[in-house]
C-alpha cells in the first residue's frame, strides 16, 4: 500500500481545482495552437498553468523553475519592461508624427480604464484591485502586468490572461460596436492618404522629448515610457542595428517565453479558482468595449467639430492593441467602400493609443500606488 501510495502519489493528491486548472491550461494551449490567439504568449502561459497545477509539482515553490522565473522577472517588473524595449524597437511612429492630432484619439481610447475601475469598485473590489482590473482597458499586455503586479499582485494571473485573451479577440469584439455606433454614411467617409514626410531629426527627437515630457508630468510612467522610447530611439537612430535586432528578436522572444511561463505559474488553483476571476473576465470585455465606444464617439465628435473629413472608425484604433485595432478599422471601412484605405490613419491613432496607454498606466499608479 505504501508503494502504491508512492507511485500514485500524484494522482491521489490531485485536487478538483488542480484538474480544472490543468483543463484551463490546456484550453489556452488549444486556443494558441488551433485558433492562433496570441500564440506567442498564450502557449507558454498555458504550459506554465499545466506545469504549476500538476499535483506535487516541483516547478513551483522554493527553487522551482517557474517560481525562480517569477521572482527574477515578474515580481520586480523586469520582464514587462524588457518587452517594452522590444515594442519600441518595432514601432514606427511615422504614421502618428504625420498626423499628430491622432494623439487625441489615443487619449480617448483609454476611457475604458476609468469606467471599468468604477464598475469594479461597485462590484466590491478594493481600490487597488479595481485600478488593476481597470488597467485591462489599456489594452496593452505588458502595461497590465506592470500595473497589476504593483497594485494587486494576487490578481496578476487572471488579469494577464484576460488582457491577452481579449487582445486576440479584438477583431471579434470591435466590429459590432463599430457598426452600432457609426452610421453607414460615416463609415464611408474617405480619408485621402496625406503624404507629409517626417524628417529623421523629428523621428529621433520624438522619443527623447516624449520621455522627458511624460517623465516630468507622470513620474510613475518613467519605467514604461522610458523603455518604450529607448527602443524607438535605437531604431530611429540607425546606428545601433545590432541592439535593435537583439531587442526586437532575441531579447523580446526570450523574455516573452519567461514571462508567459511565470504568469502561467501564478494560475494555481487556490488563487485562480475564485469568483473574482469570473468577474475580471466580464469586466475585461466591458473595458475593451468601453474603450472602443469612447474612441469611436470621440472621433465622431472630432469629425463634427473639425468638419472632417475624419472617418470616425479611426477612433476604434485609439485603444492600443497594436496593430490589430488598426487592421480592424481598415477591414470594417473596406466592407463599406473597398476604395477607402484608412490603414495609415488608423496606425497613427493606434501608436498614439500605445503611448497613451503607457501614460494612463503611469497615471493609475500615481493615483493609487502606496495606498
Amino acid at each position: 500500500m505504501n508503494i502504491l501510495a508512492t507511485i500514485f502519489g500524484g494522482l491521489l493528491s490531485m485536487t478538483w481545482g488542480q484538474a480544472l486548472m490543468i483543463g484551463v491550461g490546456l484550453l489556452l494551449i488549444y486556443l494558441a495552437i488551433v485558433k492562433e490567439y496570441e500564440p506567442v504568449l498564450l502557449l507558454p502561459i498555458g504550459a506554465g498553468a499545466v506545469l504549476a497545477n500538476l499535483p506535487l509539482s516541483p516547478v513551483v515553490g522554493e527553487d522551482g523553475i517557474l517560481s525562480i522565473l517569477y521572482q527574477a522577472g515578474v515580481a520586480n517588473e523586469l520582464f514587462p519592461l524588457l518587452i517594452f524595449v522590444g515594442i519600441g524597437a518595432m514601432t514606427d511612429f511615422g504614421p502618428l508624427l504625420e498626423r499628430p492630432h491622432m494623439l487625441l484619439l489615443g487619449a480617448a481610447g483609454q476611457f475604458g480604464i476609468f469606467g471599468t475601475l468604477f464598475l469594479a469598485l461597485l462590484l466590491g473590489f478594493n481600490i487597488n484591485e479595481a485600478a488593476s482590473i481597470g488597467i485591462i482597458g489599456a489594452i496593452d499586455g505588458p502595461t497590465s502586468i506592470y500595473v497589476s503586479n504593483l497594485l494587486a499582485p494576487h490578481l496578476l494571473g487572471p488579469i494577464a490572461v484576460v488582457a491577452y485573451s481579449y487582445m486576440s479577440l479584438v477583431p471579434i469584439i470591435q466590429p459590432p460596436i463599430m457598426r452600432a455606433l457609426i452610421s453607414k454614411k460615416e463609415r464611408r467617409i474617405r480619408m485621402p492618404y496625406s503624404e507629409n514626410p517626417v524628417s529623421r531629426r523629428t523621428r529621433i527627437l520624438f522619443p527623447i522629448l516624449v520621455t522627458i515630457v511624460v517623465g516630468i508630468l507622470v513620474p510613475m510612467a518613467i519605467p514604461l515610457i522610458g523603455m518604450l522610447m529607448l527602443g524607438n530611439l535605437m531604431k530611429e537612430s540607425g546606428v545601433v542595428q545590432r541592439l535593435v535586432g537583439a531587442s526586437e528578436n532575441e531579447i523580446a522572444n526570450v523574455v516573452t517565453l519567461f514571462l508567459g511561463l511565470a504568469i502561467g505559474a501564478t494560475m494555481q488553483a487556490q488563487y485562480f479558482l475564485k469568483l473574482d476571476t469570473l468577474l475580471i473576465l466580464v469586466l475585461g470585455v466591458f473595458a475593451f468595449g468601453l474603450d472602443t465606444a469612447a474612441g469611436l464617439l470621440f472621433a465622431k465628435f472630432l469629425n463634427w467639430v473639425t468638419r472632417g473629413p475624419l472617418n470616425p472608425l479611426i477612433g476604434a484604433a485609439g485603444i492600443s492593441a497594436f496593430p490589430m485595432a488598426a487592421r480592424v478599422v481598415q477591414k470594417v471601412a473596406q466592407e463599406e467602400d473597398f476604395e477607402n484605405f484608412l490603414l495609415m490613419h488608423a496606425m497613427g491613432a493606434n501608436t498614439a493609443g500605445q503611448i497613451a496607454s503607457v501614460v494612463a498606466g503611469g497615471v493609475v499608479l500615481a493615483l493609487f500606488a502606496g495606498r
Partner: protein
C-alpha cells in the same frame, strides 16, 4: 464595358462589349483588339443573325465584315493598339494608383484581363497587413506597371485601363 464568355466549337473566348450612343453601334473587344461595329439587320430566310459591319478596326488589322463568329481573331495580340481618347467619356478612372506606401505582394491581372468593379487587381502589403486593391470600374486591363515584390510609394501608377 461588359465582358462575355463565348464558346465557339470547343474554344472559349472572352469578349468585351460596350454600347455606344447610337443604338446599333457597339464597341467590341475581342482577342486583344478593339472594334467599333454596326449591327445591320439582313433579310435572309434561314437565319436571324444580323450581319456586322466593322466601322473602325485597329491599325494593321484587316477590316472584318463578316458574320459574328469570324469576328474573333484566334491568337490574341500581345500589345494593345493605342486608341484615341473617348469623346463621350464617362467619369471612369483611367488608371489605378497606390493608395498608400507598401509592397506589391500579388499581381492578379495581366494586360488584356477583363475586370469588373470590385475584382481584385493587386495585394498591397502595408504595415504588415495584406490589403486587396480592387478595380474601381468595369474594364479591361491595358498595362500593369508593377511586379510582385516591388516597393511602391503613395500615388505610384499601378495599372492603366484599356480605352473604352
Amino acid at each position: 464595358m461588359k465582358s462575355y464568355t463565348i464558346t465557339i466549337g470547343d474554344k472559349t473566348h472572352i469578349i468585351g462589349l460596350q454600347e455606344l450612343d447610337n443604338p446599333d453601334r457597339f464597341r467590341v473587344l475581342a482577342g486583344g483588339q478593339v472594334y467599333e461595329i454596326k449591327v445591320v439587320a439582313v433579310e435572309e430566310s434561314d437565319a436571324e443573325i444580323p450581319s456586322i459591319e466593322v466601322i473602325q478596326a485597329a491599325k494593321d488589322q484587316p477590316a472584318l465584315a463578316h458574320k459574328a463568329p469570324e469576328l474573333l481573331p484566334k491568337a490574341p495580340s500581345s500589345r494593345p493598339p493605342d486608341l484615341p481618347e473617348p469623346e463621350a467619356a464617362e467619369e471612369l478612372p483611367a488608371e489605378v494608383r497606390a493608395p498608400m506606401p507598401g509592397v506589391i505582394l500579388e499581381v492578379s491581372v495581366t494586360p488584356g484581363t477583363p475586370v469588373q468593379r470590385g475584382d481584385q487587381l493587386f495585394v498591397l502589403e502595408a504595415m504588415k497587413m495584406k490589403n486587396p486593391i480592387r478595380s474601381p470600374r468595369d474594364g479591361v486591363v491595358a498595362e500593369v506597371f508593377v511586379h510582385e515584390g516591388q516597393n511602391v510609394n503613395y500615388d505610384d501608377l499601378l495599372l492603366r485601363y484599356r480605352e473604352g
